[in-house]
């Protein structure tokens, strides 16, 4: 059958399936969706509680309306708020001011924030519903969104007894209730809060009996004095963002979310990004989603954003919305006058808790560490094949902002440099404290289309090149900005600019190797102009010299490896002493590059520790997607260009790097790492599932 005929038949078949759909009665559809709590897209589920639990009407707080009018503050403590449809809500504490109200909020993971809203919004807020998810890092089976309900199990389930009972980390009973609302739940009670974990995951996979018992045994939590629920699971279980807001401020019942606070999600991925509809005088990036009736507000370098279920906010109201980390005293100790806060943009990150450490089954110690990152629920892991441990730093445990980590690199002296939102940080020991903020200072601000900064350590590990790649195509004209900083004290040794298309690859003893090219306007976008690629060296004194045509793949302390359209070349940094690498096999080279993702990846050091060889990937055939259908990983002698084959792959080669003793080469996949003997590739050590679930290897060294 011809393609067009098949496509038409497939479309007819799908259309026919659609016609068989039962069109629901509008009234039932509306009612059902309200019951399921999905009108606002919130994961909160309608709470059905018969009666109320010690209902306390909202009290007037400490102070009077006159105090507010006089410019003083009124602290209103937490309260239990009855819901019209039955049940109760947690009325969060608030600090009322003349035009605004501050809500000190504690999230499920213990993060404390202060959300400021204009009174016009805040006055509609009655309740707060926390949200989140639990998982343990090394077992992908058991991540579950948590449903948090204010109330007691007795009130929720009446006389119903659990079908099975487990114990949580503190020995408290945990009920497993089956066929409740057609669902099975593990149900925890911490103070005035119920936590339910649904037995099925999104794919319908159920927890096993063993999983359930372990899930229960790792969970712990408590109600704070000011009434919030904090979950403190035992590692490796962690609490992270769930599938809805991390805190929802509601208006009268759990379904009616007015304001949602989202943690660990940034402007770029889910907020107004680089093109907000409005930037307020206070720097709030505002985006209006007319279709959903939502206003989203975020901050350029914060890992939180706020959604408001209204579109008609005035500029003044939008300016008043503010979110801060609360680093002062807890709310129960807040005086009526002050609360200490710091902006989310602070570079000092408070941490708490301990990282979890898990052993790796490996017979011998191999000097290699791998940094893996979980991007959306920012967590980092160090897989140390020397110590044979995996250490997971969950959100709040690592000393990085909860933004997506943009990149990382291991220095030759085995420190990590990790960069997030334009700021590079040095970690010499664990990831729970920063040893040096490298900058750039001030952070570079280039159009949102420009790539994130890159960091390239020098071969002696004493300095680092901080590079904000520029952007030059179309109407954009931003140079690539380069700082050379001293790693030990963060001092800036050189500030320089170069061509905006220049992108860093590696550092030699003398300088920074960058690839540069002309842009070609195809009429349907911009692409690199073939043949215009050139490799340049930015020297430590700010001067530049051309190394040669083509693009660089890697560099050692004194040699640069680059590729042209049909040659693989190695030369000194000034272009002299050039040798050509001869094809190690017959037939055309359809693709030559670094292992895995080519040069942009960079963090995987492809030059051997002694600088004698470099890892190169050769693709030989294209598959139907235009990617190499077959490829080979080779080691190239960096002085004379001779080669030796290491491994062959269907498809592209994976990322690869050397152990620091040069004895092993590690190949990286999503969850697995394979070690091959650098000099006898028949000796292979597969390490399966050593990368914690949801993480992927980002750097190694």
């Amino acid at each position: 059958m011809k393609f067009e005929d098949y496509a038409r038949e497939a479309s007819k078949a799908l259309s026919s399936s659609g016609r068989s759909v039962e069109v629901p009665a509008l009234s039932e559809m509306w009612a059902r969706r309200r019951r399921a709590g999905v009108i606002l897209g919130s994961a909160t589920i309608a709470l059905v509680v018969a009666g109320t639990i010690g209902v306390i009407a909202r009290m007037g707080g400490i102070g009077t309306d006159d105090d507010v009018a006089n410019g003083s503050e009124v602290v209103v403590p937490a309260a239990t708020v009855p819901v019209d449809e039955g049940g109760i809500l947690f009325g969060p504490p608030r600090i009322e001011k003349a035009d605004t109200v501050e809500f000190p909020i504690t999230l499920l993971d213990g993060t404390r924030l202060t959300l400021t809203l204009p009174r016009s919004l805040a006055d509609d807020v009655d309740g707060l519903v926390p949200g989140g998810a639990a998982s343990w890092e090394l077992d992908p089976c058991c991540a579950r969104t948590l449903e948090v309900i204010y109330g007691s199990i007795d009130e929720l389930y009446g006389d119903r007894q659990p079908d099975i009972e487990y114990e949580d980390a503190d020995g408290n009973p945990v009920g497993f209730y089956t066929e409740v609302e057609s669902l099975d739940y593990l149900v925890f009670q911490y103070g005035s809060w119920i936590v339910r974990a649904w037995d099925d995951d999104a794919e319908g996979q159920r927890l096993t009996e063993e999983n359930r018992e372990r899930f229960a045994s790792l969970m712990s939590g408590h109600e704070t004095p000011e009434g919030f629920l904090v979950l403190e699971p035992i590692p490796p279980m962690t609490i992270g963002p769930g599938d809805g807001p991390d805190a929802t401020l509601t208006t009268g019942n759990p379904e009616e979310g007015l304001v949602g606070v989202f943690e660990g999600r940034d402007c770029a991925s889910e907020g107004p990004s680089a093109n907000p509809d409005l930037v307020t005088s206070t720097g709030n990036l505002v985006s209006l989603a007319e279709e959903s009736g939502m206003t989203s507000i975020c901050w350029p370098d914060a890992s939180f954003f706020v959604w408001v279920a209204r579109l008609d906010l005035t500029d003044a109201e939008l300016e008043a919305v503010e979110l801060k980390f609360a680093t002062g005293t807890p709310i129960e100790e807040v005086s009526t006058t002050t609360t200490s806060t710091t902006l989310l943009t602070s570079t000092t990150i408070k941490t708490s808790g301990e990282p979890s450490v898990t052993p790796i089954a490996l017979d011998q110690s191999i000097p290699l560490r791998v940094l893996a990152v979980r991007p959306n629920n920012p967590s980092l892991a160090v897989i140390d094949l020397s110590e044979r441990t995996t250490t997971v730093y969950g959100p709040g445990v690592h000393a990085l902002p909860l933004d997506a980590t943009d990149g990382a690199v291991a220095t030759p002296s085995r420190d990590w440099i990790i960069w997030t939102n334009g700021v590079a940080r040095l970690f010499s020991d664990g990831l729970d404290h920063v040893d040096q903020i490298l900058g750039p200072s001030p952070p570079r601000e280039i159009s949102g289309f420009a790539p994130a900064i890159r960091v390239v350590p020098t071969p002696d590990s004493r300095r680092a090149w901080l590079v904000q790649p520029g952007i030059t195509y179309g109407d954009n004209d931003h140079a690539t900005i380069v700082d050379l900083v001293d790693i030990e004290d963060g001092s800036v040794l050189l500030r320089s600019e170069t061509d905006g298309s220049a992108f860093p690859v590696a550092a030699t003893d003398d300088g920074l190797v960058l690839n540069s090219h002309n842009w070609l306007d195809t009429g349907d976008g911009f692409t690199e102009e073939p043949g215009s690629e050139v490799t340049i060296l930015l020297n430590a004194d700010g001067s530049t010299n051309q190394i040669g045509a083509g693009r660089a793949l890697a560099a050692s302390a004194n040699r640069v490896v680059r590729v042209t359209s049909n040659q693989l070349l190695i030369s000194d940094p000034d272009g002299s002493n050039e040798v050509e690498v001869l094809q190690p096999f017959d037939g055309a080279w359809v693709d030559i590059g670094g292992p895995g993702i080519p040069s942009d990846a960079m963090p995987f050091q492809t030059v051997s520790p002694d600088g004698s060889e470099v890892l190169i990937s050769l693709g030989r055939e294209f598959d139907v997607n235009g990617s190499p259908g077959y490829s080979e990983l080779i080691a190239v002698d960096i002085s004379d260009g001779s080669t030796r084959s290491l491994a062959e792959f269907d498809g592209t080669t994976p990322n690869a790097t050397w152990s620091s003793d040069g004895e092993w080469i590690a190949l990286f996949w999503q969850d697995d790492i394979t070690l091959i003997d650098a000099f006898d590739s028949t000796v292979v050590i597969p390490l399966e599932d050593v990368v914690p679930a949801g993480h992927f290897p980002l750097a190694a060294g």
Partner: protein, 174 residues
């Protein structure tokens, strides 16, 4: 968002009822083509129509209410947050019977491949084949230039063709 305590409080304009009954099955098919999820297809379609109802006075006055509801459905289907809400969606699934029956496996392979396309290509291809929309109509729904639609269709079809040839489902050479 308007507070509605019960359906009896809501006035349902007859034109909306007609619009809903006519367009709902097609929007379900559209979302299924893009998401591959039976539950998501009905969940997202229902959400799109509820939004149309909430704002019916404005939607009705548009040149193409049909295009508007498709755009909302496509946005919902590709929304990251929406996809992350798997559990909530599954709850909806449990509370509402899923009535959509996907096409047989021979033709479902086509849609499996469509879903592997980059999202914009997948959307353009789906609207083109499933709804027989012109380039102009697709541009209106996706709110992109007609030239962009042409490029998306060209790239999407070529990639689909190559993938389906490789699977032996259609004739031709890669």
């Amino acid at each position: 968002m308007a507070e509605v305590d019960s359906w009896s409080d809501v006035e349902i304009p007859e034109p909306f009822v007609r619009f809903f009954r006519t367009e709902y099955p097609t929007v379900v098919s559209l979302v299924y083509g893009l998401s591959g999820s039976r539950a998501a297809a009905e969940d997202v379609a229902q959400e799109a129509f509820l939004r149309a109802h909430r704002d019916w006075r404005r939607v009705e006055s548009m040149d193409s209410p049909e295009g508007w509801v498709r755009r909302v459905a496509i946005n919902l289907a590709t929304s990251r947050w929406r996809r992350l809400k798997a559990e909530a969606s599954a709850l909806t699934r449990l509370s509402a019977p899923v009535t959509f029956e996907p096409p047989d496996s021979h033709f479902s392979a086509f849609w499996d491949e469509v879903r592997r396309l980059p999202s914009r290509q997948a959307q353009a291809v789906t609207l083109h084949y499933l709804e027989d929309m012109s380039v102009e109509e697709i541009a209106s729904v996706l709110q992109v230039a007609e030239g962009t639609v042409k490029a998306l269709l060209s790239q999407g079809r070529e990639r689909l063709r190559r993938q389906l040839i490789a699977k032996g489902l259609v004739d031709g050479e890669v």
